[in-house]
Subunit: 437 residues, 2 copies
């Protein structure tokens, strides 16, 4: 018995015991022997804060560990690492700040919290000399933040293209494969548990924007305002758009895009994007996530996998816990935190400044001269046409005109579309999808 | 001035100043300020061992750092981290062991060394309490080993499918795209610098086998004999095979495959493989590398990027140097090395035990009953046929018969093919390509 007590222990306190929390408890239990061998110490869950102490749990857990008092978990002197899995912003922020103040290291999967209050939390952690790890906040168990932080530590990241919202990717992939409309596929996704009852955060781009802000912190050391990110959801994409994309050898994907323009600021945008089928990101289907990184020395690299779900997210949380444990065990007193990015306030470029190619779809009455009118308005705004398709020939009935532009300035494209919308022959607001090539 | 001298310094000694070494010097110089800010210490190249001190260099380097005496670099008391980039096995091994003995941490990109002597070197490093990092040995700058070691630390890896030799992938990709034969594409690759003058290590699978053994150490903690890995190169793949693959919705890729069969041992094989076009690995083209990981908790994940080249490899080496520097700075005296995998001797399953689907190609004289003969021999060996194609109808001329089998035992397939080869109507040794689906 005396031998047993000599093994060092690292205490973990969990805030939240839902899906991810249960996964964390299970992984730590299942891998206890391997972890102990690897670390030379045990990682022990000391206390768990839950909302309802009596609820049935998905995982075998000693009920004496449960409490409804999150602060009691944080304040427990045997807890070295606090894992925040309560979600939301206000409450989670208070807990994380309290944990930092108490000298606890923190692991969180809360991208909303990080996107809004990340810089403040990182500053507090750096000041107190504790770690704040967040691998699970982007792409679940795929260690993309670790790759940015460690693997590419001496590289300069120039751009990122990511699929970071599994629900949106599932819906667009299914629409592409089956030619069904958005509402129908969303309803199916909700029945199958791939979409929430309230899907807004996923399909309107808010969740992806949170993750993009977190990626910008890690990739560029950038502190940006969430509200400055350009965000457009996937609701307006129709089966017709997927069919045209297919015809052009492209596919519509829910991308987040970040690019460093140096003194001109960062380009940060979230919107459905047509990309060539030959791109690796085009093959990232279903609920999967991927981040494609362009960096100066390495060139291109991509990180792919399940971006959500109980066990994938738990793998990321546990990897953070183990890295902190390793640091804690080996660490000299007073050493600075190694996980905390140094952030610089960066401006976000207005979307109007974007230069891109565009897919434009118009519903027009099939009258003589309509195409010339469209082309005239676009030309007047310096939007030049690479390709035009007009479907059907039914006088006085609405037909579809699709135009692919050469690279143009977004501001000009928008002005042109506003003017086109006022033409008598145009029966519906023009649609726009950005292209990446 | 006194302020300057208070910044801590971590000394690095380089063994070798070729492409990768020059890249390392350049990255450390270009990122010096960022590294110092991040680490709170400087990483300084103290000495560099070269074969010829007077040769022109690709990178600006203080010639006083150069020496032709590798041991002098290792023995320099200001060198904390030795970066081995001399290549080869015998000499490199002596240097690495000497460095470990002297208490230096080691970074190496030498997969041949690791595949053959890795377990011995890891054991020496563990005993001496120094780190032995090797990110650059597999997939260049793509942090796949880091992902296996850290990101998936609490997961159980079940299988890996990888494209880890850029030259082979470039050749097969070009053959697929252009329908040209192996020899012609190899010659072009040699002219363009994508293949060595002596391409054997790349196109015959030896380099990939080295990397597979290294991956098996990190993914399964397995100590295996390099000679037990099944290795088959890409020389025998013809444009005809690519054309058939295309017809079946597949593509031929130079894969390494590892799977853990528990007490039955590890499956470790290197050979060209037909995979469905919809697989992400099918879209990994040109000189790019990727490793697709199947693990219990995370499910699937993939790591992709440039697997070779001066700067991609240098990024990986520098990421290792920085991680060691971070550990060294924060580390308590006597702390165990964190990079060293604990290895267990594992048996490698004989390729004869493999169950797989097969693409079989025969050149036969177009006589009545030939197909029945082929089918009969296969059936007798429990190899059942999923699909048969016979091209052309030219009596007494050789025609091509292609058979896709259902899953069969490799041993049986080989016995069947040996018997088929003896048939009077069979004019050429049958060809075999394994399928993965």
């Amino acid at each position: 018995m005396s031998q047993v007590s000599q093994v060092r222990e690292i205490g973990v306190g969990l805030l939240g015991l839902g899906n991810v929390g249960s996964g964390v408890v299970q992984l730590l239990a299942d891998n206890a022997a391997a972890i102990e061998e690897r670390l030379g110490a045990r990682v022990v869950v000391r206390r768990i804060a839950v909302r309802e102490a009596k609820k049935r749990r998905k995982v075998a857990v000693d009920r004496r560990l449960l409490t409804t008092d999150a602060r009691a978990v944080i304040d427990d002197p045997d807890v070295a690492i606090v894992v925040e899995l309560v979600g939301g912003e206000a409450e989670a922020k208070q807990y994380v700040l309290h944990a930092i103040e108490r000298g606890r290291h923190v692991v969180t999967a809360n991208k909303a919290l990080l996107a809004t209050h990340g810089p403040e939390l990182f500053a507090a952690a750096a000041k107190r000399g504790v770690e704040l790890y967040l691998e699970a906040a982007v792409c679940g168990g795929v260690p993309v933040l670790r790759a940015l932080r460690e693997g590419l530590a001496s590289d300069k990241i120039e751009a990122l293209h990511g699929i970071v919202n599994g629900t949106s990717n599932f819906i667009l992939s299914t629409m592409t494969a089956e030619g069904r409309p958005f509402d129908e596929v969303l309803a199916a996704a909700q029945r199958e548990g791939y979409a929430e009852a309230d899907p807004a955060l996923d399909v309107d781009g808010g969740d992806a924007a949170h993750k993009l802000v977190v990626l910008a912190m890690l990739a560029f050391g950038a502190r940006v305002r969430l509200a400055d990110v350009y965000v457009e959801g996937i609701r307006q994409i129709t089966p017709v758009d997927h069919a045209y994309a297919e015809r052009f050898g492209m596919v519509v994907k829910p991308l987040v895009i970040a690019r460093d323009h140096g003194t001109e600021g960062l380009e940060l945008r979230v919107h459905p994007t047509m990309i060539p089928k030959r791109w690796l990101l085009a093959s990232v289907a279903g609920v999967n996530n991927a981040v494609y990184v362009t960096s100066r020395a390495l060139g291109h690299s991509m990180y792919y996998g399940r971006g959500a779900g109980m066990m994938p997210t738990a793998v990321a949380v546990v990897s953070d816990v183990l890295e902190i444990a390793r640091n804690v065990l080996g660490r000299s007193p007073g050493m600075a935190a190694t996980s905390v990015p140094r952030l610089t306030r960066r401006a976000v470029r207005d979307i109007g400044l974007l230069r891109s190619r565009y897919y434009l779809r118009f519903a027009v009455l099939d009258r003589p001269g309509v195409l010339a009118q469209l082309a005239g308005v676009l030309g007047k705004h310096e939007v030049s046409i690479a390709h035009v398709t007009q479907e059907g020939k039914e006088p006085e009935r609405a037909v579809t005109v699709v135009i692919l532009t050469h690279e143009a300035r977004e501001r000009n494209v928008r002005l042109a579309l506003a003017q086109v919308a006022k033409l008598a022959s145009v029966v519906e607001a023009p649609r726009l999808v950005r292209l990446c090539e």
